[in-house]
Symmetry: D2
Subunit: 270 residues, 4 copies
């Protein structure tokens, strides 16, 4: 039996993330303005967490939808990073953007639409940055692990997997969060896996229970969308937690912690 309590899941600069910490990455879907990003960053920092997400280059299904603030978005993230001492997680859709990302971005996210973009993965394997690899909504668990193999075999072992739901016939949620991927990945791989209940559900009202369920299933952490004013969000407002709900989530994760610590020691839950 594996005892997880001291397992290191990620090292970035001076920061070592242990499994027992259950990494929590929070932030807006898209970077919209410095005010919006700073509000989120303050919220994350005050909750005692270290990672903020925020999209600058957005891969949008519809070419006429808002494509993100792009370079300006990265600059805003850089300011927030400095101001609040946070680590930055943002999606990379083109390796040509890497020079722009180098000094600001701490974890490169590969989105669900690009999980099978193997050229991108091969190139990301050569950069010295951790990668957060999201499961494609049409991809099996085995394919997620094989996509990670493009990074690992290319020399980048700092990979975090992310379950974000798969497409099914159910219409009340945007995707169906497949939490069975969590214990299955744990059985087949030593890679950490986190859960994104925001994109899976596509509606904020069930994000908290699904986040807690993800942790109870054995996940190493969460990534959630928050926004100071979800109804005004330029992107994915329906699924973003407002700050009040985010604080509830943080509080309930704390309530779950004694259980998680015991499970880690026992190693039974995986």
């Amino acid at each position: 039996m594996t005892h997880f309590l001291d397992q290191t899941i990620l090292e970035i600069d001076e920061l070592t993330v242990k499994r027992k910490d259950r990494i929590l990455i929070a932030g807006p879907c898209s970077v919209e303005s410095q005010g919006q990003v700073f509000a989120c960053a303050r919220e994350v920092a005050e909750a005692g967490y270290k990672f903020m997400r925020g999209g600058a280059f957005k891969p949008r299904t519809n070419p006429y939808s808002f494509q993100g603030l792009q370079e300006e978005g990265i600059r805003i993230l850089a300011k927030a990073k400095k101001e609040f001492g946070l680590k930055i997680v943002t999606e990379i859709i083109d390796v040509d953007h890497f020079p722009l990302y180098r000094d600001t971005v701490d974890i490169l996210q590969v989105g669900a639409r690009n999980m099978s973009n193997f050229q991108l993965l091969k190139q990301l394997a050569t950069f010295n940055k951790p990668v957060l690899l999201k499961r494609g909504y049409g991809a099996t668990i085995e394919e997620l692990l094989l996509a990670a193999e493009y990074l690992l075999s290319g020399g980048n072992s700092r990979v975090i997997l992310c379950e974000r739901g798969i497409r099914t016939f159910e219409t009340m949620t945007r995707s169906t969060l497949d939490l069975s991927s969590v214990p299955l990945v744990k059985k087949m791989s030593s890679l950490p896996i986190i859960v994104d209940p925001s994109h899976a559900c596509g509606r904020s009202d069930i994000v908290i229970p699904m986040a807690l369920a993800g942790l109870a299933a054995g996940a190493d952490g969460l990534i959630v969308e928050i926004h100071p004013n979800p109804p005004k969000a330029l992107c994915d407002g329906l699924q973003s937690l407002d700050f009040s709900k985010f604080r509830t989530l943080v509080k309930e994760i704390q309530l779950l912690k004694p259980f998680l610590d015991q499970i880690d020691v026992a190693g039974e839950n995986t």
Copy 2:
């Protein structure tokens, strides 16, 4: 906000099941022999739980597969009920069997294959027995609630819903356990909902984490398959917990209890 702690989810004879108890129904897929059933019953009783499941009339996809011990199976369940003081949950596939079930069966289970057998539901509505209604593997959450409506509108309000997974393209699990149904049902209905990780996963090695995830998502309980010797089971052996794993599950549910109690009081998790 709803405070769940004192909510009654079921009354049977002298027994009142509260949400805070998180009902746990355990037992073999099929009744195979008195020895097998008594072993499971002793296990359930010693764990302090009250409900045993066991199939006597089995609806099998293949007409040439084992169809259950039928009348003999019900007789064995009756003996176990008396010997161990347990309540019995078993599937009903034909109302003509009801006289045989009347004195022995405490909760009538409607299986996934019959969720849309509305004639059966209409008739079950007229019997004075609680019904455990499983979600069809091709059914939406809305359809599960509407199927329950056949029972409710027919006069039977003692209905427990059960999430048991839906069919998707993922092949590592038999079905994909859709835990988002749990908080969604809680938002739309006052009916209790429990989770069946055994049938959803189709493999025993991830039943425990998925069971815990179901409770963390807000479920009112669980139904799991156990067997004294899973490799020898006539049906669903791959997904049955042996007694050692069952005790681990029971222990971990206890570890999760303080969290669940706090969530119930806060009412935040639903």
Copy 3:
């Protein structure tokens, strides 16, 4: 290689349906009135076809939806049968209705919701009537064949299978018509299989091309919904062909006939 041209797919009374005829069953979703049924029946008869469908006892997802005219519906179908010399196809949801069906109904339809209602299938196996068995929207092709086995092993060999679509994430159609089931069933079974593009698509505007595709894939026939005034239909109006579109379908099937005859002789298409 099999040569299909003379294969008998069904015998009812004095009528022998050959594969080369490609059975076409048409009619309304629900029997609503004698006028509506007679209008459809006249349309079917004038097109030179022999089978009319029409639902009298409707299994509805929502218990508060229109449940069909029931006994009165069967009486109307009986009149149309006599007046227009048609064979009647209607769904049976309860064997207790069989006495009412006996003299009027020529083919008993088992709907998608009841494909896995094995008790119903076992009982239908004992009646001397052909059965049209629709694939459940959550069922695999193998499960469709095994469900048919409940009829065959029970002594009823007059079974027609029906592909009517499965549930997927695609939302532009009600279900996804899985035409690959047609050649696969042909490879694995000697049972005839027809295609229901109306229920699969859930929209009348693509029923004609999907019907033709079904025949080109090797199907033995079609079942389609027609209505004298689809926007006024009590049930499934969106997917019903009006009479003008039905005549187009009939004409295009005629255009496809020379191709189908050649394929049958060659036996290549299956």
Copy 4:
């Protein structure tokens, strides 16, 4: 009503492909050797068709699988192009390969795994080459049309869509060919759409009926995999037609032609 008979679906150099021709693209999954490619090319040319497919740079799910002959593969395709006077269709996974493709490749294929790789699409929009855009196996029809919009809005109007199946719970086929996409695309767009029964089915024994079904549903053409010796293929042998089966397909398409011509004139089938 649209009359399709004279509609141009593609112009390449001196070649104009009309809808009435129903483009047929055939060739091996992967370029393996000059002998293999020449054998396929001869087969295509002798059947009177103009387009050969063949993969040189293969996007493989597993990084340790055969990744294609790469540059050498393109050189072999160039020789076959010259020797047999064919147009070449091959997948492009990285725009850096474009200089290598420029003189040899006539249609750039975007595979299912890259349908949502919008950076790739944006760059392909700027090259003066037609693009064959395959539907992602997790993508809706609407998303396929929006992905095409990345090419169209970027200035490339020579886009051919391709239905190649979506992922569902059915396991007898690799994907479920969703032929309803054909008439739906025809209703919503003026872009041509072809069908790939080989990848959808993942088994050669039902490719012919599904190809014919695709044409009957209104498709503008087909893309199929052929191989001189399928059991020896390095990739996708199970789904490749041998030359005997390919000739049967060609012959049966000819048998279907009179029907297709009449449908095009009538315009009813779309």
